[in-house]
Structures are given as C-alpha cells and as structure tokens.
Amino acid sequence: MKKTSLFFCLMLIALLAFKLPDESLFKVPENWPKPHYDFSKNPLTKEKIFLGRTLFYDPILSADNCVSCSSCHSPFTAFTHTDHTLSHGIEDRIGTRNSPALMNLAWQKSFMWDGAIHHLDAQALAPISHPDEMGSNIADVVNRLQKKNRYKKLFAQAYGDSLVSGERTLKAISQFMLTLVSSNSKYDKVQRKEPGFSFTEAEAKGYELFKSNCAVCHAEPLFTNNEYENNGLEPDTNLNDIGRKKISQKESDLYKFKVPSLRNIEFSYPYMHDGRYQNLEMVLFHYSNNIFDSKTLSKHLKKKIQLSSEDKSNIISFLKTLSDESFLRNNQNGFPR
C-alpha cells in the first residue's frame, strides 16, 4: 500500500514537473493568476530561452539586416519604443501604431492593439512579415539562419539538432518573451508587505482614486482586463484606424483597442495605440475632460470622470509605483553577450 502511494506521489511530481515550467526560468508571482500560455506545448529550457533572446536582438530577422525586435522593443523602456508616436521599420518606413510594451506576456490572451494575433507563438510572424516593419518572411528568415554557423550551434544546443524551422524559431522567441516578467515594482512590494515599503500619502490617495476610476479596465495585478474598449479617443482621420473591428468585422467593435497594462508606464511613453499623448498629464486630461462620445464608447466612460488637479497628480504618483527597476535593468533580458 505504502509503495503504491509512493509511486503515485512520484508520478504526480513527475506530472507537475512536466506541466509547470522550471521555477528558476519562470515563476508565477505571488497572488497572480495562472498564466494563459500553455507551457506544456513549449517547455522552457535555458538553451531555448537563450536562442530566443539572441534572435530577439538580431537584425537578421529583417529584410535589410537593420531592424531587430529590440529596435522597437528596447529593454530599458519596458520593451517599447519611446519618443516615437508610431514605430518605424526597415528603410525608415512608419507604421500606423505605437509599439506596445512587452512584459507579462504569459498572461496575455491576444496580441497587438486589435488582438489580431491569438497566440504568442504566432506573434513574431507579424512584424517579420509586415512591409513597414521587418519586411521579410519566416521562410527567408529560416534560410538566413540556416546559413549561419552561430545559429546552427544555438539550434543544436536548444533542440538537439541543428535543423532550423519556422516552428523552432518562433517558439524560441516566445520562450524569451515569456521570461519578461515584471512583478517587482514598489506597488508589488507594498502588496507583498515587504519590510520598508509603504505608499507615500500621495501614492496611497492615488491608489484609492485609481481603484475607483481606472481599475475596472486596468485590473490588478496585471493592470489590464485583457478586453477591448473604446476609450473615447477622437478617431485620427489620417490613420483611420478602426481597431478591433478590422479583426472581428463587427460594427460593435469599431474603434475598440486592447486595454494595455499600466506596469512600467512611466517609461513606456508615448501613450495610446497611436502614441498621441506624450505624458501622463495628457492622458489624465483625456480621461477627465476630453472623451469623444460615439456608439461604441466604453460604458465605463459614459459618465464623466471628475478629477481635481491634485487627484490627477496623486494618480500619477501611484502610477509611478508601477515602475519595476529590477525588470528594466535586468541583464538577463538584455543583449546577449
């Protein structure tokens, strides 16, 4: 009897070990929900993460060997492109949207501002193929990688043989992106009641205001509800971006965009899908004074949000507690050396 239970225990441990990624490579932060990404289909290894990280920083993915993922997703700015309202790709071509910050992607159900991509493994195909971004295609990328001794070695280390395939390339990039977890901001430390960390008066007031005015969409602890909303931006008639409707083809999704996470927001300016706001003051002015009404406007914005200038400054103080220095300066996420 004892033997059987021991056997079952061992089986269970083996099963769990198979299901959950290695804790040293990926850890679900305390009190966070279960990740959406299915790690059993792409189990993390150190070698695959390193391959993905090398690919992430290598312009070999682009048609003219000039643009890498990190060109628009720089580690020091929470993996986005600051100072550029719209991100640009090969030959300085300008896209139509502001590059999103990359973090906590294992919890994200869909990708891109309109949710066009439904799986992290498929995400890199979009920038690789877009003529205004990397202007290449995955078949050519695989060809280019196959010719490099460095990649033959890295693929062999990661997968046991040096075969380069689209699947292997994309899944390695996913592995690196999955490790970009930001959960060490002041906010997190205060929530975890770590000694020596508490909100200032302004931050605490800002947190209360945040919970009553913003958290319905920017839900804790990820600071997004992973939904699509029309947040009342007046449509830009030059870009004419219809948002989620392009994907769902539903009139009810017109001008809806994915609710972005607010973690590291201090560093991920400019803001909104088209990068129209340069700073957080402009963002809060938008929500309190500048909502553009239309049929698909979020029901949470139908009622005017009343905020005094002190309220706004308190909210901004709170938002800055979402900055995670250890994430932004983590050498493990940087250019591989």
Binding site: N42, I117, H118, A122, L125, S129, H130, A139, G166, Q249
Partner: protein
C-alpha cells in the same frame, strides 16, 4: 546437408507466410473537366469567356478517416497534409494502416479551429510554407493564384486565400467520398468546377476571412470526387 535442408525449409515457410498487407495510399489527381490539370496552362471555361492560368494552388487535407458502413475503421494520427499542385510528391501519401476495408473516406479541406488556436506547429503546418496569415493569426486553408483575362486587376492577376477559424467565418470543410477498398485510392479535384464560381470580375482577391471566403470554401468542398 541436414542444416542446409532445414534452412531451405525455413526459407520456404518465410516465402509462403502471408505478407503484411499493402500500405494504403491516397493520391490526389488535379483535373480540368475530363483532362489532367496542369499549372501554367491556359484554360478557358466553356460557359464563359474567362481564361485561367493557374500558377499556384496549395491547400491542406486533414483529419483523414476511413469508414465501413458508417463505422470508423481508421483515423490517421497527426493528420495534416499540405498539397501543392506544383510539387507532385505532395500529391500522394500513405496511411499507416494495412489491408484496410472501407467504403468511405472523410477528410477536412483546411485546418480545424482547435489546431488553429494551438499556436505554431511544425512539419506541413510550419508557417514557412506560406500557409499561415501573418497580419492576423490563422491558417490559410486553400490558396489559388494566377492570371485571368477577366480580372480587373491591372496585371490581370487573381489570388484567393481562403481561411478563417472562427464563426461566422469558419472555412474548414469536411468532405465525404464513397469509394471501395483499394491499396490506391484516387481523389479527383476538379479545378474547372472550382474556378467557375470565382468572382473573378468583381473580386479578384480574397485575403482574409469573410462571408465570400466561407461561400467559396463550401463550393470547394464539392469539387472533390
């Protein structure tokens, strides 16, 4: 001497023993009406004046199942086959079962929804084959490209990429073909029938999931026999 005789006997028994049955092969035969279809050849539809020169035609056959009197007798594992009319090797393949008795083949034209939402896969499903959309996720079930005198495009080109994994634009189609057990089963794909319904004059390009893509996918399913 005795040993040699025994060896001979063993040899004889080996030869006379029933062999493992023949493998089950499927072959796709592209046809244009009554003729063998060729890519790059200029065809005319007899009913209209439209000309068609098809340079590329690729699609997925998946979830292959064999039935006998309505009962499932064989289901292929990991059943995904990329058919490329420009690559004759892709037109035939073997199933792993032997000596199968069946009277019906069922298969999907395209890739089912659950595979579509399971991320990126390898082999015939690897996105390097150009059968995965990049601007939005999802497999292209069927791709046909070429030229027609009726296309309103400046270059006279047309391209139809049919796909869509979610309602209301779910494009995958199951087909069922009556057949008889045979080591080699031929499946005819009539391109003349398929192109006859293409909206070549009004819409020479379809590149995303849509109502029209669903309609053409349903029509495509009727072109296999």
């Amino acid at each position: 001497m005795k040993i040699k005789f025994i060896l001979f006997l063993f040899g004889l028994i080996y030869i006379l023993l029933p062999k493992k049955g023949a493998a089950q092969n499927l072959r796709l035969k592209p046809i244009w009406g009554n003729d063998v279809f060729q890519t790059e050849k200029k065809y005319f539809l007899s009913t209209k004046n439209d000309s068609f020169q098809i340079s590329l035609c690729k699609f997925y056959l998946s979830e292959i199942e064999l039935y006998k009197k309505g009962n499932l007798v064989y289901k292929e594992d990991n059943s995904f086959h990329l058919i490329n009319l420009n690559d004759c090797l892709s037109l035939s393949f073997s199933l792993k079962g032997n000596d199968l008795q069946f009277d019906e083949i069922r298969m999907n034209i395209g890739i089912d929804s659950s595979t579509n939402v399971s991320g990126i896969m390898g082999g015939d499903l690897d996105p390097i084959h150009g059968m995965y959309w990049t601007w939005q996720s999802g497999y292209i079930n069927f791709k046909i490209e070429g030229k027609s005198n009726s296309s309103k495009n400046k270059t006279g080109s047309f391209s139809y990429h049919l796909g869509g994994y979610a309602e209301p634009f779910l494009c995958v189609q199951q087909i069922s073909l009556k057949t008889s057990s045979s080591p080699l089963v031929n499946i005819n794909f009539d391109l003349a029938k398929f192109v006859s319904l293409l909206p070549i004059q009004t819409k020479p390009e379809i590149m995303s999931p849509s109502e029209m893509a669903v309609m053409l996918s349903k029509h495509l399913a009727t072109c296999f026999k």
